[in-house]
């Protein structure tokens, strides 16, 4: 503070710019040491000196001055705006990066979704095939069980179908009034071409026409088992069963002479 005392009377004159060079340099050297008290005093003295401006009467400059200034300022503002627009991309890079990432994610997601759809479709197809296979097996099982029940039930009626050809083996049928007819044969020669064997029910009614039933073809060893779950006629009204050879798909009425015939007792 002792050092500051020698400058205490100079602050206003310094702010005014009235100090001679030696005094001014001395004060400035002191301020350069970082004396906060003197620096603050100088700043306040500058404010005090600035108040002297009010001694000058206010005066309006010409309109031309404002016109020139505004023209310059507008031109520089426009130029600054153009430079700013030129240096700044319309869409910032980080936004482009975001869009690119989103695009890649969308493509990846779309491919993933498509693969997922394929997997689901394949799985569904496999499930449907397995279900179909199961249903087929169940149907086969149901058929086999029904055939077994017809073949083993004492209530079933045995029907032997004799062939018109003495060389040809005999067919056997069992008819259960509620479960249907099971027709079996072994070593049966296959019909020629695509022709099939067709079962007929011969009614007891005099002059009644043969009633068509299912068709069959023996396997490679000449075996077959034919189940007729719902015979087209009641056993009591049927006189005999007959087998003819018919075109593929069967016929509404026999087109050939029966190769096997067996009476229903």
């Amino acid at each position: 503070m002792k050092n500051c005392d020698q400058f205490r009377d100079m602050f206003e004159a310094y702010a005014l710019g009235a100090l001679d060079a030696a005094e001014r340099l001395g004060l400035e050297a002191h301020l350069a040491t970082g004396c906060k008290d003197c620096a603050k005093a100088v700043e306040e003295a500058r404010w005090l000196v600035s108040q002297l401006a009010y001694l000058a009467p206010e005066s309006a400059p010409s309109d031309m001055l404002k016109g020139r200034l505004m023209q310059t300022v507008r031109a520089e503002a426009l130029q600054a705006a153009k430079q700013s627009a030129a240096t700044k991309p319309a869409i910032p890079l980080w936004l482009w990066a975001g869009v690119a990432a989103l695009f890649l994610f969308s493509v990846f997601s779309a491919r993933n979704a498509e693969q997922l759809r394929k997997d689901i479709r394949t799985t569904n197809e496999r499930a449907a095939a397995i279900l179909k296979e199961r249903q087929g097996l169940e149907a086969q099982l149901e058929t086999a069980k029904r055939e077994a029940m017809i073949l083993t039930d004492p209530a079933s009626v045995n029907i032997a179908l004799a062939s018109s050809d003495p060389q040809s083996p005999q067919l056997e049928a069992k008819w259960h009034s509620k479960l249907g007819i099971v027709l079996t044969g072994q070593k049966i020669p296959a019909p020629s071409g695509n022709r099939v064997l067709q079962l007929w029910l011969i009614p007891k009614t005099p002059g009644g026409k043969p009633i068509p039933s299912l068709t069959l073809r023996p396997d490679a060893e000449g075996k077959f088992v034919l189940l007729v779950s719902n015979p087209p006629e009641l056993m009591a009204q049927t006189k005999a069963l007959a087998i003819t050879e018919e075109p593929e798909g069967g016929s509404p009425q026999p087109t050939t002479t029966p190769r096997w015939v067996g009476g229903v007792s």
């Binding site: 004159a13 005014l16 404010w47 009010y54 001694l55 000058a56 005066s59 310059t72």
Partner: protein, 195 residues
């Protein structure tokens, strides 16, 4: 700088001038026009008083306002009020102009972008409108004796040093120093008494 312009400081509230100067940073032409309309009369009056020529005063006024427009970032609202800062800038530019001898030298010097030093508001300062402030300052200065007032005006408006003023008034250097210091202290006390 942004927060400094918008948040009240310990000594004073954020002024409309500080807000407008902040807008200059965004090259806001409207803010510039408002600042010009608010302060061009006091600035031009000061320049005319120092330079005594309307053409030169307008030329310097143009430089002062363009310097404000181009270097608004150099004004720090947290370090002091705007108007004294602008007036100090204008006075410095005018005195520089006054001291130069040739037109070519003056133009070259005008291109410098030196900004005024920090101007701090003392604690006794209160917000006064421009008209009341001018009346107060003139009344206080009017109460000084003629020689004392003349010495201060020579220093402020013509940029003369103590020695130059003593020579101009043909008075002892110590007397001139006392006049100036005592006159300014009286002005300071007068402004303090206003509050």
């Amino acid at each position: 700088m942004f927060l400094a312009a918008l948040l009240p400081t310990a000594n004073h509230e954020v002024s409309p001038d500080a807000m407008l100067v902040h807008c200059l940073l965004q090259k806001d032409v409207s803010a510039f026009e408002q600042l010009y309309d608010r302060h061009s009369r006091i600035v031009y009056g000061l320049l005319l008083r120092i330079l005594q020529q309307a053409g030169t005063a307008e030329e310097v006024a143009q430089d002062v306002f363009l310097q404000l427009w181009r270097n608004a970032a150099q004004y720090d609202e947290s370090r002091g009020p705007f108007v004294p800062w602008l007036l100090t800038l204008a006075r410095n530019r005018a005195l520089d102009t006054l001291r130069l001898k040739s037109e070519r030298q003056r133009r070259r010097e005008d291109q410098t972008e030196e900004m005024p030093p920090v101007v701090a508001v003392p604690q006794y300062e209160k917000e006064l409108d421009e008209k009341r402030r001018a009346e107060k300052v003139r009344a206080l200065m009017g109460s000084l004796n003629a020689q004392q007032k003349k010495a201060i005006e020579l220093a402020y408006f013509e940029g003369l040093s103590h020695t130059e003023i003593a020579a101009a008034l043909k008075e002892p250097l110590g007397t001139v120093k006392s006049w100036i210091r005592n006159g300014l202290l009286r002005l300071k006390e007068g402004l303090q008494a206003t509050t």
